[in-house]
Amino acid sequence: MFIIKLLSDFLKILRAGQAPGQVAGGFALGSIVGLSPTLTLQGLAIWLIILILDVNLSAAILAFTFFSLVAYVFDPIFHSLGYLLLVDVEALKGLWTTLYNAPIAPLTRFNNTVVLGSLSVALLFFFPLYWGIKKLYIAYRDHLHTKIEQWKIYKIVSKSVIVQWYLKIRDWGIVA
């Protein structure tokens, strides 16, 4: 079921009619929450942005799922990066102390090495990811889309209950 869902999400993204920016934006934003190890205030804010802005929700969900799985592998790197920023960079200590004593900032869990490390990496790769996905999507739409639509698997998946349900909601205009 999970595999079908993921596959259908992927196919929906590749569906014609969506602007490349919307797809790339959804994917890039989804990557930020996907890399974060736990629910944080900034995570909620990103989800709200995803829902409010007219970005591709499927791309965001796909990115969230994909990066959540991938992040396990990179957690030690995130930890090291977070430790470096929190402890080793003297210039930032004043900022962290101020945030630590501020009322709302602790809810972001910025003082956790993995949270800060993963957020830093996500923000660092946000625009490259946005640009890369956009290019990839344009290339797909121009060259591969018609061929893939002829695939038997694509036809099965696109007619599945989940996809039909999604299309119905999309037609209400709530999601992209």
Partner: protein, 640 residues
């Protein structure tokens, strides 16, 4: 932008906000009541709560906290209560209140409804059934102070009423039946000493016989001395020879005298040793008397402890109630040493939380100051105490605030009774320390039961009481001293006195207008102990002495004379034998002593006579020599 989505979110959000706005007051009220009930163990009711947004705070019109020991009364109730929360800390889920205003704090008000919680009601009805189960659990959990003190309080409450019926004692007292000679230690003692005297007298006889053996030697001395006739001494040589004889006799006499003196001293010492038997006999007589008095079960005329019997039951019940609150404070003021909250393990690498210097650390809950006002005098109900003062630093973690919880409250009731309470509850170190001081003055005691169902059941119907209670609870130790003074009291007795002592106590209580009680309760090594003292004891005691003292004294004298009679016979036997033997010994010793002294004096006299004779003969001889010399010199001159 997804405008439809925004609307989709916005409308529910607005609806939710409206819902929260409309019902927040009720939800917060219910939440506070629930939390309060969990702590107190009885109903907590808040009326008219409203939440203010600027500043973020709460105010309510009335708060009632029911008494878990008596559901129809409140521990206290308040008028309007108002406080503001630190918004910045609220965002961190911390409830920090700078100042809470509490108006019209009243103690012990009556309730319209039962304030016992439903669960507690059920427990109370099922209490007998679960009593055994709860005692099992108490074996593992540390015992509360109330549980620790329960045995000593119960023992005081159930103290047996002693037999005070003098008339019955008079009827039933059979002195002869309790006077078993075998049980009188004095009789046994005199028997034993008499036998010792008998044995010792044999030894004395032997010593006297030894002294007798010196008699021939004394006779020989006498013969030798008499043989020296000074008148018959004609020259110096015979005088010197006589002196030698006298000196030998003198040495013999001295030898006999010295030996006699030593034996006499030993004998006198042995005899005198038995003279001290009288003192020991007197001491044992007193012991025998007290033992017989004990068997006769005569009451102690001092009547010590009677006041405790009268006042104890009510006092112990009150002490039990107060200990409940000591335990309550100990258990409900958090020490900040609780177990850390359980955290859900993170499936991903949890990372490391880096902590930075905090400008100010706050506990979860901190009410820095509660200002309590007792309301205006005009509006006060004279039945209740209205308190004013302040309570400082209520927090869930005193180690963070660095401040102990302190309370300084004072109040009045009806303009005549005053109450002050000073409390300090320190949880900043591993050893929790609680100190309280309560002072009460001018309390009108409406009705207070005294006496017991089996001893002068009665009650104080009117009195003015004052109390000063100091309690210190460092760790598991407990020390409290209470001084209670009753004045201007009137008593009512439920029934007529049943015996003399009840009559006496009634007379005393009817006559007195006040008394003081001091109560000390402490634990050492986990065991509670109690000391109860009152000047009422002195009053009852002096009155008792007047009324029944004479009768008891007469009965005591009767017993004393019977005891003395039994002992006197044996004492006489001992005395007769001892005096007889003593006289024998001393008589013989005196006779020997005079003989010895006489012989020694005789020898000394003879010695002096002989020495004088020698002097005379020496002079005579010197003069003869002188005369011969003169004659020779004269002859020489004549020849020339």
């Amino acid at each position: 932008m997804r405008t439809k989505f925004v609307l989709f979110i916005l409308f529910p959000a607005l609806f939710l906000f409206l819902l929260v706005y409309l019902f927040a007051d009720q939800w917060i009220e219910s939440g506070l009541e629930y939390s309060g009930e969990k702590v107190v163990g009885a109903k907590v009711e808040i009326d008219g709560l409203s939440v203010t947004l600027s500043p973020v705070g709460v105010e309510f019109a009335r708060l009632q906290v029911a008494n878990p020991q008596d559901g129809w009364k409140n521990i206290f109730e308040t008028g309007k209560v108002k406080f503001a929360l630190d918004f910045g800390q609220l965002l961190r889920s911390k409830f920090i209140i700078e100042t809470m205003e509490v108006n019209d704090l009243i103690l012990g008000t009556k309730r319209d409804t039962d304030g016992t919680l439903e669960g507690k009601k059920q427990e109370q009805t099922e209490q007998p059934a679960i009593a055994s189960a709860s005692s099992d659990t108490s074996a593992t959990a540390p015992a509360s102070f109330a549980q620790q003190a329960a045995p000593v309080l119960q023992a005081k409450e159930e103290k047996k009423t002693p037999v005070f019926d003098i008339e019955r004692i008079q009827r039933e007292l059979k002195v002869d039946s309790i006077l078993n000679v075998q049980n009188l230690r004095t009789v046994q003692y005199y028997d034993s000493v008499k036998q010792e005297v008998q044995r010792a007298s044999e030894q004395w006889e032997t010593t006297l016989a030894e002294i007798d053996k010196a008699k021939p030697k004394l006779a020989e001395v006498e013969t030798n001395i008499k043989a020296v006739n000074v008148a018959e001494i004609k020259n110096l040589e015979s005088a010197k020879s006589a002196l030698e004889n006298v000196k030998r006799a003198y040495e013999s006499a001295n030898e006999v005298s010295k030996s006699f003196t030593e034996r006499k001293a030993a004998l006198t010492d042995q005899v005198n040793r038995f003279s001290s038997a009288y003192a020991e006999g007197e001491r044992l007589t007193k012991e025998d008397f007290n033992a017989v008095i004990g068997l006769a079960r005569l009451p102690d005329v001092s009547m010590r402890g009677l006041a405790e019997l009268i006042l104890g039951q009510e006092m112990m019940q009150n002490v039990g109630k107060y200990l409940y609150w000591v335990d309550f404070a100990r258990n409900n003021i958090p020490s900040g040493l609780g177990n850390p909250e359980k955290e859900e393990p993170n499936r991903r690498l949890e990372g490391q939380n880096i902590h930075f210097p905090v400008e100010r650390s706050y506990p979860k809950l901190w009410i820095k100051k509660i200002l309590v006002s007792g309301g205006t005098d005009k509006a006060q109900n004279p039945e209740y105490f209205y308190l004013k003062g302040e309570v400082l630093d209520i927090s869930n973690n005193q180690r963070i605030t660095g401040q102990p919880l302190t309370a300084l409250l004072s109040g009045t009731k009806g303009g005549t009774t005053s109450l002050s309470f000073a409390g300090r509850f320190d949880r900043r170190t591993d050893l929790p320390v609680d100190d309280y001081q309560v002072k009460l003055a001018g309390l009108n005691v409406g009705e207070m039961k005294i006496g017991r169902s089996d001893f002068l059941p009665s009650k104080i119907t009117r009195a003015v009481a004052g109390a000063d209670v100091v309690v210190k609870v460092p760790g598991n130790r407990f020390e409290s001293t209470s001084g209670i003074a009753f004045e201007n009291l009137t008593m009512v007795f439920d029934s007529a006195p049943k015996n003399t002592v009840e009559r006496i106590v009634k007379d005393v209580l009817s006559a007195i207008r006040g008394f003081n009680v001091r109560l000390r309760l402490w634990n050492s090594g986990g065991k509670f102990d109690m000391a109860f003292a009152t000047d009422l004891d002195d009053q009852i005691s002096s009155r008792t002495r007047k009324v029944i003292g004479d009768e008891v004294a007469r009965m005591q004298n009767e017993i004393r004379s019977k005891v003395n009679e039994k002992i006197a016979g044996k004492r006489k036997e001992f005395e007769t034998l001892f005096n007889q033997k003593k006289e024998e010994v001393t008589g013989k010793l005196k006779a020997y002593e005079s003989q010895v002294n006489e012989k020694v004096a005789m020898v000394e006299g003879k010695k002096k006579e002989v020495e004088k004779k020698i002097d005379e003969e020496t002079k005579k001889q010197a003069e003869g020599v002188k005369k011969k010399a003169e004659e020779k010199i004269k002859g020489l001159f004549k020849k020339n």
